[in-house]
């Protein structure tokens, strides 16, 4: 319990340093786009592959499980859409990103900590937390909703491709299902979740990296902790947000 309070206190202190006005906005924006490219754009290939395949699998599984003749076939499209938008494109993708960008951030910052690069910045009078962490947090929080949209569209595409290839249902039925009782709030809900989850991932990974100690083993340990804690916190907030927003 004491450790939990210690971590919460250190995290809060770090965030106070992170959310200070940048020394120079030009440097911040340069770093923002660099991090956006590295953390978000570079994740698109992985997210795309996973989304296409999961979209296809959801369609096959839903079609196979609808046995009742009273349930219209277009419900396969409805189920695929709802599964993707409500949970997969935000929560599952965020859990995958926790592994990919979480470990990337914590090991990068952790290596800088143990090789005294962060100390070097502090000696110069640079707020290292603000310079290193703020662009990552802002880029991932602001750009991740677009990643969710990409995942959603590609998931639907994957479902469409499998429908066309296997003929489980017709493309017209799938298309009808995608449009049936569409609630646009679910898209915003998913974007909000994704944005918050990416804030959690980047800020926690940065925290663990920033407090890494004990050489390369310490960096490895901080990466593992960052992923485990991020995933747990994401699941807790998933529950809270679902209760609050739906």
């Amino acid at each position: 319990m004491r450790l939990l309070f210690q971590i919460a206190g250190e995290y809060y202190q770090l965030m106070l340093r992170v959310f200070k006005k940048p020394e120079k906005w030009s440097i911040f924006w340069r770093q923002f786009w660099k991090e956006g490219n590295k953390l978000m754009l570079a994740s698109i290939p992985l997210i795309s592959i996973i989304s296409v395949f999961i979209g296809a699998v959801i369609v096959i599984q839903t079609a196979n499980n609808i046995e009742s003749p009273f349930i219209p076939k277009f419900y396969v499209g409805v189920m695929a859409r709802e599964s993707l938008v409500l949970e997969f494109c935000s929560t599952s993708i965020a859990l995958i990103l926790a592994g990919k960008i979480g470990s990337n951030i914590s090991s990068e910052i952790g290596s800088m900590r143990i090789t005294e690069q962060i100390d070097a910045m502090e000696i110069m009078g640079v707020n290292s937390a603000n310079y290193l962490i703020l662009p990552k947090v802002c880029a991932s929080t602001l750009l991740s909703p677009f990643l969710m949209i990409v995942s959603f569209l590609l998931g639907l595409l994957g479902g469409g491709v499998i429908v066309a290839l296997t003929g489980i249902i017709t493309l017209a039925q799938y298309d009808e299902g995608l449009h049936f009782a569409f609630n646009e709030w679910f898209i915003y809900y998913s974007m909000i979740k994704m944005s918050l989850f990416c804030f959690i991932i980047t800020s926690l990974a940065s925290y663990y990296g920033y407090h890494a100690k004990g050489g390369s083993l310490g960096v490895g340990r901080s990466s593992t902790q960052a992923i485990v804690v991020s995933c747990t916190v994401i699941l807790v907030f998933d529950l809270l947000l679902t209760k609050l927003l739906l």
Partner: protein, 250 residues
């Protein structure tokens, strides 16, 4: 001038530094020497503000650094440069970007002006045609020199070096020592160097402080240290056969 007054530092209630009183003057290379684990690095980190002293004060030209607010310290830090044991060059940046880093933050200079200063600093440390290389692409000695170039980029009044010669061959170590001495004298910088390299002691020790188990046991210069009557200093100095032989031949 930097003045350390009655400095104490504890880790887990164990004293690491006890009642340290020492002055570092501009234009001098001040060396803090002592065995590994004696408290040299802790002292240096207290002086630059990476650690907070548990007791005592550190004055920079009569400004009490320990009592300064974060923003006051930040202004002060622009006058400091530091060379780390492992160079601490930024992996993500080229040599040119490393040296330019403090200028990006703290000067209103144009890109051309910054580049001119970068080239001047790199030339000053005898490095040319390495601007576009990354730290991993240059040797340890070159990394140290880039570290020095970055440390002097903003014309600091205070230069701190933590074991600048560690991991370097004796010839390169002497080059680095002379470079630090030249820069110190040329720009009248207050330079504090942590080392246990006896070559450095003899070559550039204008002022030497010997730390033993967290206490400052002896102070003097590179001439006086040879005639010191402090047992711990002599044990440290003449720990190897080579040093004993040199003294015998004198």
């Amino acid at each position: 001038m930097i003045e350390v007054k009655g400095l104490y530092k504890f880790f887990d209630n164990e004293p690491v530094l006890e009642d340290i009183n020492i002055k570092f003057r501009p234009g001098n290379c001040s060396l803090i020497i002592g065995a590994s684990g004696s408290g040299k690095t802790v002292l240096l980190k207290n002086i630059v503000g990476l650690y907070e002293p548990d007791k005592g004060d550190i004055f920079y030209n009569e400004h009490n650094f320990t009592k300064m607010t974060l923003s006051e310290r930040k202004m002060f830090r622009k006058e400091m440069g530091m060379l780390f044991q492992g160079s601490a060059l930024f992996d993500f940046a080229t040599v040119e970007e490393n040296v330019m880093f403090p200028m990006d933050f703290f000067t209103p200079w144009s890109k051309e002006e910054k580049l001119e200063r970068v080239n001047f600093c790199l030339k000053r440390v005898n490095l040319e045609n390495v601007n576009k290389l990354y730290p991993s692409q240059i040797s340890g000695g070159m990394q140290k020199r880039v570290g020095i170039a970055r440390a002097i980029a903003l014309n600091p009044k205070y230069l701190f070096c933590d074991e600048p010669n560690s991991g370097l061959d004796p010839t390169t170590a002497i080059v680095i020592d002379h470079l630090l001495q030249e820069i110190t004298q040329e720009y009248q910088i207050t330079t504090v160097i942590n080392t246990h390299d006896m070559n450095s002691v003899m070559e550039i020790g204008d002022h030497i402080g010997f730390i033993y188990k967290g206490k400052l046991l002896w102070e003097g210069n590179n001439e006086e240290i040879m005639h010191s009557e402090c047992k711990e200093v002599n044990d440290f100095l003449f720990a190897n056969n080579l040093a004993r032989q040199i003294i015998k031949n004198r």
